[in-house]
Point group: C2
Chain length 114, copies 2
DNA sequence: AAAAGTAGTTACATAAAAGTTACCATTGAA
DNA sequence: TTCAATGGTAACTTTTATGTAACTACTTTT
């Protein structure tokens, strides 16, 4: 569906008896850390420690839990290399990459109104 | 800034020492109810009771608190009429309306991947 | 006289998300 | 032999968000 088309439509129009598609998106993007982790991954491949450093204030526990959720939802791909000490890389999957318009729109809004 | 331009840029690029603009957006859009309330208001003017009905599961307390936050942030306009019983209408301000691209992007993503 | 209707508020309880601190395994380097 | 480095985990506490149930004010309708 073209975005121009959607812009003309009723934003609330949802298939009868079905969950609204915004709510489905919110199941993945639930909470600020999800947005920020994904934003960081648009920068390219990242390791656990890199994410932890750039996401100021996140605890290792929260980062670990959130990354697992994103992996389980097919948004993030985790690749572990058997080095010592261990090397683990996180990247966005195709599904994760397709979140870009949302992140871009939020970035633009924040720049203008935030 | 044109969206095509932004799409080419590094999504993480933030002014040095300054808060990232996505984080500023997240100060307004914090939590699922914010997204859903705003989505409903794109449908047009709404009264408290209407919002409460369409936002399935929201408690009057949460709706009240969230609407006040949105009003304080300049996203929502509250208009009370001195009728009996009272009539109160909620609408999006210009700032609130400008959130549309975010909501649209989320709706499209949810429809495709959710 | 009591009920209905709107837009909430209040006090209390619960659940979910997040933070804190300490800790583990492995192995090459100092 | 002890330290550093990576990518976490475990137990516990705190914070934040949300829900529940009852209640308010005011006036018209039954």
């Amino acid at each position: 569906m073209k975005i121009e088309r959607v812009l003309e439509e009723n934003i609330c129009e949802c298939p009868a008896g079905l969950e609204c598609s915004i709510e489905k998106t919110l199941e993945v993007l639930d909470g600020k850390w999800m947005f920020l982790i994904i934003r960081d991954l648009f920068d390219g491949v990242k390791r656990f420690g890199e994410l932890k450093k750039s996401l100021e204030g996140i605890s290792p526990k929260t980062l670990s839990v959130r990354l697992k959720e994103l992996e389980a939802k097919g948004v993030v791909l985790r690749t572990a290399y058997p080095t010592v000490p261990p090397t683990v890389e996180y990247t966005l999957t195709e599904k994760g990459n397709s979140l870009k318009p949302i992140i871009i729109a939020m970035k633009l809004w924040g720049a203008k109104w935030g």
